[in-house]
Amino acid sequence: MTGWLAAALSIFALVVVLAAIHVPFGDYMARVYSSTHHSRLERVTYRVVGVDPDADQRWPVYLRSVLIFSVLSVVALYAMLRLAPMLPLANGKDAMLPMQSLNTAISFVTNTNWQSYSGESLGYLVQMAGLAVQNFWSAAVGMAVVVALIRGLARTNTDRLGNFWVDLVRGVYRILLPIAFVFAVVLMVFGVIQNFSDTTVATLGGGEQLLPGGPVASQEAIKDLGTNGGGFFNANSAHPFENPTPLTNLIEILLLLAIPFSLPRTFGRMVGQVRQGFAILATMTILWAISVSLTVAAENAHAGVALQAAGAATEGKELRFGVPMSAVFGASTTLTSTGSVNSMHDSYTPFGGGMLIFNMGLGEVAPGGVGSGLYGMLVLAIVTVFISGLMVGRTPEYLGKKLGARQIKLASLYILVTPTLALVGTGIAMATEAGRSSMLNSGPHGLSEVLYAFTSASNNNGSAFAGLSANTDFYNIGLAVAMFLGRFLPIIFVLALAGSLASQAKVPETDGTLPTHRPQFVGLLAVVTVVLAGLVYLPALALGPIAEGLS
């Protein structure tokens, strides 16, 4: 079997499995968030934390709950990182320094999982009870927010969007935790470690090697499922203890795509029009497929003098995965706001690496992070409907909701946030010695490292052109700001949008209504997504990957 046929079959397998699960899984999630029933464990939890699970919140209250929970999570995680040596299972590791702790705490609470530290420098307890716990919470927060937006579209004449605490707890108890558990065990069976001791071995060659231990499998499963991406080890999913075989590689790609690709179905179910969800899914799939193809093609061409000399783009890639499935992972992780990597993006070809930056620049919508991907795509759908709705001679409406000044204002603000953060951050970094001195590579590739960092942080992706020395005050603080604002400003706008939509009545659909489930709209939405990102990021990309690739 040729390498390309094998790669094609691998991608095909990926698509088939996703196609098979998205309907039942999406329907399941719709039931989770629509159900009025509380399980016993949930009841106990609500009683312990003091929540009335049947209270329905208005959007400002929902938002306040999100923000309070997240900010306090940052505080708790910061404290834990700082106090780690005094806690059990510290494994002899030092405490993280203040700025890096702040960066890391914000990074994990915002579902970014940017790591300016290397995983090997942290103790076991901090990883499993600090970082990995936020992998659950931050993912559940993203899902709660998108569910609130879906309710805004589905409900009429109400100011109620649901209960954040209930959505949060259900997301964890009914979706993330059970699946993470199953796949932690599966990954463990295939070689991912789960223990609490480092092992020193005398190597065959007569040397000594210290093999790290740790509760990796339990963290690995939620790291991908929750599109978090913070690796237990520095090498992330390239590390053989995190991702030991081609099969686990495929499973991890599946895990990081599973929820984002199934949520459109949940959306379709909850608004009562499955085809609307399918249109969103189709848009995401098209963009994903194009991006994966281009990335794989670029890596296969192995442009760049060093890679040409080596004969393949294998620098920074694991032999067991091969170039194509490394590129598929790379494209998928940057399109899902996951940010875990199974190969070093900094060593990708100019266009391959540029594609990864552009993927994040799309705003993490194809299919995007858990929850955040769908709400991002729905905001883009609203903008698309607005422009194309005008072209059919009606003041635009989406799913029967009129898109007036308030809705467009919120959608516009949403779209403004991440490009502004990414480009302003990159601009400041390139204008200051503090920003420039962290680059490993020189020339356009160095610029790409900085652009990657701020694009990744602003869009809550978390992967890196890791040559950049990010553990400096400049980057720890700058990227923390980008991550925090890049997460919560959009959430504020989305929930306000949800509130304004929920309060509306539904306009009935007529032949004069712009259909938003047809291929025409799917194509248009995909084009709008690409063009908006393209227009904004093109000048910066021109001086980074494009300049490098065309030289």
Partner: protein, 193 residues
């Protein structure tokens, strides 16, 4: 108690509950299950020789000398294959240091295997983790005659060991064909005795 304080209390208690349920109970449960059904792999797929642990099947290690099959170049730690310092070189596709390294590695391989031989890319580039336990069958075959000579084994015997330690694509289509360097060298060591 106003709304903000009330919600803050809920948040604090939920964070504590989460730390216990998700941060302690869940990983310990996974550990427990692992101990029962996957004890070998959960511990790190350790490889033993004569009752001594010599490494992990999954983690590459340095081998000094012509008698060993050489792994890929590694960027983990100063000397490579430092398992506590995983990572890649992060050098860009046009990086001059990377180009120099590639040329140097090619020269090193060619000096032993003959000038002008095809040197597979994995022999010239470092992996992402720096701990890649595998090399390509092509790179292994390139090393056969050197290893055979250094160990006093016949080339066909060594080539046979290479074949025996070559894993095909998983399920027939996943990943790449590869040779586990530690297991191959272990077989060499056993054959030498």
């Amino acid at each position: 108690m106003n709304g903000v304080t009330r919600q803050a209390w809920i948040a604090v208690r939920l964070i504590v509950v989460g730390a216990l349920v998700l941060g302690v109970v869940y990983p310990l449960l996974v550990t427990g299950v692992g101990a029962v059904i996957a004890s070998g792999s959960a511990k790190g797929s350790l490889v033993e020789s004569d009752g001594e642990v010599v490494g992990s099947e999954l983690i590459g290690q340095n081998f000094e000398g012509d008698q060993w099959f050489q792994p890929r170049p590694s960027a983990a730690g100063a000397d490579g294959y430092d398992a506590m310092s995983s990572g890649g070189s992060n050098l860009g596709p046009n990086n001059e240091d990377l180009l120099a390294a590639v040329q140097e590695r090619r020269a090193a391989v060619e000096s032993q295997a003959g000038t002008g031989v095809f040197v597979p890319p994995d022999a010239l580039t470092a992996s992402g983790s720096g701990l890649d336990p595998h090399i390509s069958p092509e790179y292994a075959r390139l090393q056969v005659s050197r290893v055979a000579k250094a160990n006093g084994l016949s080339e066909s015997a060594v080539a046979g060991l290479v074949d025996a330690n070559t894993a095909g694509r998983q399920l027939g289509f996943l990943g790449e064909e590869r040779v586990n360097v530690l297991l191959l060298n272990l077989a060499i060591a056993n054959a030498r005795r």
